[in-house]
Point group: C2
């Protein structure tokens, strides 16, 4: 654009310190000096105006409005606007506009290079267009849309160091005149100040956003770390991530051996999608796992990496995705995806960075939860295994502990026992016959009626069980449950003959479950009894052997359990 | 101070737009106009100078230096300085100084109210002191110290909205003159710009510090959450906190029932202080726990809340403390303290806030670690208990599993086996005889020599043990260890007759530990053998029954273990 460059070079003289009025001859020296003073005084007034705007508050829009008014006054412009570069889109938006069709113009944006303002933003050079209609760079889009007649234009870039932050544009010099070099000189007095303020405001806004985001992340970190139960953790994490990124949906895939497995998902497809396996390298999540880096996919349907299986199983339509690897310092744990920004927007780089920052913390939390869950499973599996081993000593009661545990849990849940206590009930139920470890197999397996001595031997097992587990501080609450699981509600049980509510509640539950399992199970001398008979027998013993209040709930819970089991 | 107020009121005329030179009569109009132009042109030049400084970089010290030079030129000052209010101390420090004794003055600070600059900072009013010696507000401290002669002073506040950010001070007008109103007018052109830049720089610095702190916190959070082992976690947490706050020492107290117990401490007193109990309400930590809020104690020795017991036990002298409650959403977990800022400084509110922010995350991590540690202890205690119960079936081997486990761990550690594998070795050692659960007690307890049939029965226990634990996925790696703990290095063992390194390494360790415990233990028909004899026997069987490489390490480890035990 050699033509325009020429024009701009001319404007460099604008900054010359030589009083411009000296150029005019033919007027008296006094008039000339007076004219000079008026111009200088005007510039000093600008200094005053700028200083008043500068050292007050930092609300950018107010400052820009005040600057714009002052510049319009100083340059006798009909209308004016300050356009700033929008970070994500790189387009120019109207940060401030006054005069003309100001109220309507704010909804428009301008591409860099579009119109005179776009040209100035692109080249970084100020310019005057004395006749807009004759300048090819002028866009008629706004005039047509807003029914406004742009006669002439003066426009300067807002630069900080070498960055172009935006453009200030004046339209239509008043009284039908055109803008001249003197006007541009005035305009250029202002631009460094506006630029500095825009730059500063941008930095402050960036920092504030960063602080808010970090504080939010700290909150989320605390929130997700507040549980070690893996399933709950994953659900919490996904809820926090999708909320934070305003995503329609999300999912977490965990690495299991060499595959990714959907471990948690939000929304309607939650259950459908769970346990779908994705090989490393397949689909977007698989790609992320293989490449070990995050990805922002604007248009998933047209991305060859997109794994359509998940969508096919549901009615969900994936538009855009951010997927980030979940990794600790040591290893890849899985992949987290968020899908479809709400309101039809696309995800951007900031969203991706945010999810990445969360992912580090999430990976650590997942590792912890997995470790905890595994330890807990190991414990439960081990005591289940050992209980079964002890069950096997007695030929009749193979899987007895398992049955008692299942029924106890059903009854416990129906009674509304909280989760932490249910865990204790489970351990007690699995261990209720642990004391039989010391009873001779010849007695346990004896097909004939036991002698009184043998029965006394058997009756030792609740005490014996509690004694075995006594050294374990973590199990101290379940000792009485084991010790008293053969008590009767009417006080005729053993070993202590406790009555009614003196018997631990969990013992009263296990007592019912124990009897139920014994009745249901085949014995060498009889088949297991039908469920209906067992329930009748339990009902019959309500208030004598069993706690009547628990019996009422237990019978409903047991019926429900078996009707579900039959359906399966 | 009525006198000074009068003086300052006079300066309000400084801002009047009326050209000051009009006051001078008796000169020709042209001369008068020319003088006017020179003044205005000078002010416009200032505008130019300011704009050049404004829209460049943001390094505050450079900008202040350039502003100061420009102002000194414009006001013909010999020396000048920009003093800013220091956040924590509220004193004025020299952010920029030029001319005179500039290089030396930067080490000094000025109290608000001290000297002319201090007076201006206090009142927020500009002033001229035509004769410094005659003005009582002038401090002679700097002149005396630096051997400088201050003749006259001009000074203006740097204000943003209503905040006083600092002061700009000019000393000694050149050519022996004094500063006049015109000079002050010039100075006051600059102050709004300097103020705005100082304010902005302050905001940016604050934000940057906040961002750094938050990012640091995120890093620490990830770091401390990277373990669930409580002891390691507490040590990591304390290391991170003391490092972050530049503290000489620190400690974490955990709430146990109704008392605080020192669970971790840094520095030399680490072991001495551990397990000291502090009642709620006693000492600074006790106060924090009771009041449920953090505290910053500048002078601990003179604070009645300070609990001197800890210092008395050590040679450590506590100067200042920050103590914060460690609490989750649900409950108080403990208290964290950091002690004595390095370099003799005191802790400040920022330090306290930082520790508070970390405390939330720390409390959650501690809760998790406690839960995990408890679950793991529960598991270990349970299998230990059950192993002992099985040991009891055999009258000779009471505590056998415990002994085998202890010796296996000593050997394993001496071999340099990593922690995670040691845990597996421990489980395998505790469970190595679990298969005996199915062996008849009459065989186990038989005092006479076993029949071949009975011996075959006994020899089933390694296989049987592995079979019992087989359904537990978390224990799959220890199954072969249990199955092969009766193999011999020469291939003459059972059940599989494996040879040499085909036998799992952990089995080879347990094999030695098993034999050692059997030899050491009393039997009805003989006393336990002396350690020396046992070791000779193990040495004797090196290469036949046992892996010679492990024997070499094992014998050293066992000797070391028993010599330590004797000392205790």
């Amino acid at each position: 654009m050699p033509k325009s460059r020429k024009k701009t070079n001319k404007y460099e003289s604008v900054k010359s310190k030589k009083p411009a009025v000296n150029a005019s001859k033919g007027v008296s020296e006094v008039d000339s000096l007076r004219a000079e003073i008026i111009v200088l005084q005007k510039q000093v007034n600008i200094l005053q105006a700028i200083s008043e705007i500068t050292a007050k508050d930092f609300k950018l829009s107010d400052i820009l409005d005040r600057f714009l008014s002052t510049v319009m006054d100083a340059t006798s412009s009909e209308a004016g606007s300050i356009l700033l570069v929008e970070k994500h889109t790189n387009a120019l938006y109207f940060a401030s506009a006054k005069g003309g069709k100001a109220s309507q113009i704010k909804k428009f944006k301008l591409a860099i290079g579009e119109g005179v303002a776009g040209w100035v933003a692109q080249t970084g050079k100020p310019m005057i267009t004395p006749d807009a209609a004759a300048d090819k760079r002028h866009t008629t889009r706004f005039d047509k849309n807003l029914k406004y007649k742009t006669r002439n234009i003066m426009c300067a870039p807002l630069k900080f160091d070498h960055d172009i932050l935006g453009v200030i544009e004046m339209l239509n010099k008043k009284k039908g005149k055109a803008f001249d070099n003197r006007d541009l000189e005035t305009l250029l007095i202002f631009t460094p100040y506006i630029s500095a303020i825009v730059k500063n405001a941008g930095l402050l806004t960036d920092n504030k956003e960063k602080i808010e985001r970090l504080e939010h992340l700290m909150g989320i970190t605390e929130y997700v770390n507040s549980t070690l139960e893996l399933d709950i953790l994953l659900d919490k994490m996904l809820a926090a991530s999708t909320h934070m990124l305003q995503a329609e949906a999300g999912s977490i895939l965990l690495l299991e051996r060499d595959e990714l497995v959907f471990a948690s998902a939000t929304g309607a497809q939650k259950e459908t999608i769970k346990n779908i396996r994705v090989p490393i390298g397949e689909g977007i999540a698989g790609w992320v796992a293989r490449e070990d880096r995050s990805v922002l996919v604007a248009d998933a349907q047209n991305d060859p990496r997109f794994f359509k299986k998940a969508d096919e199983k549901t009615t969900f339509k994936t538009r855009s995705i951010i997927a980030v690897p979940l990794k600790t310092k040591q290893r890849l744990v899985g992949v987290m995806e968020v899908i479809n920004k709400k309101g039809g927007d696309f995800f951007n780089e900031d969203d991706k960075n945010l999810l990445e920052a969360l992912a580090n913390q999430a990976a650590v939390a997942i590792e912890n939860a997995k470790l905890y869950t595994e330890t807990q499973d190991m414990f439960m599996n081990t005591i289940k295994c050992l209980a079964e081993t002890i069950d096997k000593k007695d030929n009749y009661t193979r899987h007895h502990s398992d049955g008692v545990t299942t029924y106890s849990m059903e009854i416990g849940k129906a009674l509304g026992i909280p989760d932490a206590e249910l865990k204790e009930l489970k351990i007690a139920a699995l261990f209720h016959d642990i004391g039989k470890i010391g009873v001779d197999e010849s007695i346990l397996r004896k097909p004939a009626k036991l002698t009184e001595q043998e029965f006394l031997e058997i009756k030792k097992h609740p005490d014996e069980g509690a004694n075995i587990l006594e050294p374990i501080p973590q199990l101290k609450d379940i000792l009485p449950v084991i010790r008293h699981h053969h008590e009767r509600f009417d006080g005729n049980g053993y070993p202590a003959g406790l009555i009614g509510e003196d018997i631990p509640m969990h013992s009263r539950i296990i007592s019912i479950a124990d009897t139920l399992d014994a009745m249901l199970t085949d014995r060498p001398y009889r088949k297991g009894l039908p469920l209906e008979t067992c329930i009748q027998e339990i009902q019959h013993c309500s208030g004598t052997q069993f706690d009547p209040e628990i019996v009422a709930v237990a019978i409903k819970a047991i019926k429900k359990y078996f009707s579900k089991k039959v359906k399966k």
